[in-house]
Symmetry: C2
Subunit: 316 residues, 2 copies
């Protein structure tokens, strides 16, 4: 593969790598567009060259957001499905069908989740939402558009303030929003009938989401506020992949640009909420608790290029 | 009292009212300087006029920071002590002695607290500190200067970032500091041997401190990290005065300058940590728990001008 093509894939993936504001489902939709751009007008490409480009794209996408399961599953499906295709036209057709199916699955899941969230919101109530999740936004806007009146409290989600993106989206959809800084949520939560968050990936130990989700969960339990993570089942991963999120540290300057000498910055992006701190996981298959998740933990095949421990191959 | 003198007292008090970065003990020291400025060169004043000026100063100081008990007790002591003084010179002398005694008490308390904190820090350990407290700073710097090596994790304390002031002071005193945003404390706390915070006032229900202290406390309990509030006993107030802090809301623009239409801002400054979430209250009289506090809750006399519900007087 030419150096320039490697570089152009990196350029395409860069906005996903550098986006601290969007949720996993939203970035998976952007990853679909990137795969489409990579195969566009490549009917006359050598099949092996095209497959290499897609493998390169898949690897870069997964390493750009290692905590985001929907991106991993999308990339993995593309690579597994095109593995045996013989011509460039076949590769493109199979890739496109995989992308279309995945996009439809994401949208169907969001709609089914929204219908269940509608039932969880008390009429006239106050609900809490943390960080930014397109699944949470669509669920709350759906409830409002179906005529349920409620208010939402949300907080900044430092350091990148994606809580402001949430507040803006909800307000522009006609929901009355109350906004405060993160540590003040303890003053607002006692008045909330429910709390919602998105998530990036799920495995047996719990759900991974924006840093601070663990504190949200501990506070909700203390105050007896039901806490739901909203997520399609495409976010389940093997337990081995769950802790990939720990690799994801962002620049310390995002937290404090001019920290004095002797002050070391930490800027981790995700943390883990154990299942016992969640009231339920609202999926397209219903509201799940820890006892329900085993069937979703079935072993899926992982393409060689996306395995966590690359297998050493002995060549002659 | 002349309009201009009322105004000049307001001007003197303004920096205390508008300071979101300093702790209660630190602002009480500044209040001492303000009282000194008010009585300076007033030997030839009418005694009643001088008393009026001090009453005005006391009222303005208390309403500038209604949660900060040391300011209330300082102002209350000055007014009670000068009540029967006959001449301006007497008023000034009594006022000055009250201020000197109070300053000495604050400094003695801080030193005795620091000596106890020294014993609570594990050699080589990591300790957590929240928000800004001069008592916490002096205790940690004292331990370092006595040769104990340890590191401190602290967080921003949005929206006014007084955690950065804490980080800077500790780092410049030779302590290695790790700094992150507030909601990331859940990732750092599991490695901490103890957590420390200051406080603004104390009564039977618990201690009042910077918003978020409640979440710090709930997280510490979940992770079994001992949490200590450091405070001289001058921070005890009657239960009636404890909730004065709820009056204290700061401008919403501090949280989000350009919030869109439909988004209402909340910017509360304090919250309450119930005693059962605290491991102990480190005072100049030892480490207290809920069972020990009753003797410190003795009824103190409150000057008429500083009573919460002004008594209606019937005049002929």
């Amino acid at each position: 593969m030419a150096e320039s093509e490697n570089k152009s894939i990196s350029e395409l993936v860069k906005p996903i790598k550098e986006d601290p504001l969007s949720g996993a489902a939203e970035l998976a939709l952007q990853a679909i567009v990137i795969f489409q751009a990579v195969v566009a007008d490549r009917q006359d490409e050598e099949p092996e060259k095209l497959r290499d480009l897609l493998r390169q794209t898949a690897r870069e996408l997964v390493s750009a957001q290692p905590a985001m399961a929907p991106i991993f599953h999308l990339a993995n499906s593309v690579l597994l499905n095109i593995a045996d295709a013989k011509t460039a036209a076949d590769i493109i057709a199979i890739c496109q069908k995989t992308l279309d199916d995945y996009e439809k699955q994401l949208c169907d899941s969001a709609a089914k989740i929204a219908d269940q969230v509608y039932e969880l919101i008390e009429p006239g109530g106050l609900v809490f939402a943390y960080s930014f999740s397109s699944t949470v936004v669509s669920a709350l806007l759906n409830a409002r558009s179906r005529g349920k009146y409620f208010r939402v409290v949300c907080t900044e989600a430092r350091p990148n303030m994606e809580g402001r993106k949430l507040a803006s989206r909800l307000a522009s959809g006609g929901i009355e929003v109350i906004h405060t800084f993160d540590m003040a949520m303890g003053l607002a939560l006692p008045n909330c009938c429910a709390a919602f968050m998105g998530c990036d990936c799920i495995a047996r130990p719990g759900v991974v989401n924006k840093v601070g989700s663990w504190m949200v969960a501990v506070s909700c339990r203390e105050l007896k506020v039901p806490l739901y993570a909203l997520s399609g089942t495409e976010k389940f991963v093997g337990d081995d992949r769950l802790f990939e999120f720990e690799k994801h540290e962002r620049p310390g300057q995002e937290v404090w640009g001019e920290a004095p000498k002797g002050v070391r910055m930490l800027n981790n992006q995700f943390d883990l909420v154990p299942f016992d701190l969640l009231t339920g996981l609202v999926t397209e298959c219903g509201i799940l608790t820890e006892a329900d998740i085993e069937p979703y933990m079935t072993k899926y095949k992982v393409h060689e290029d996306l395995k966590l421990e690359p297998v050493l191959t002995v060549t002659d």
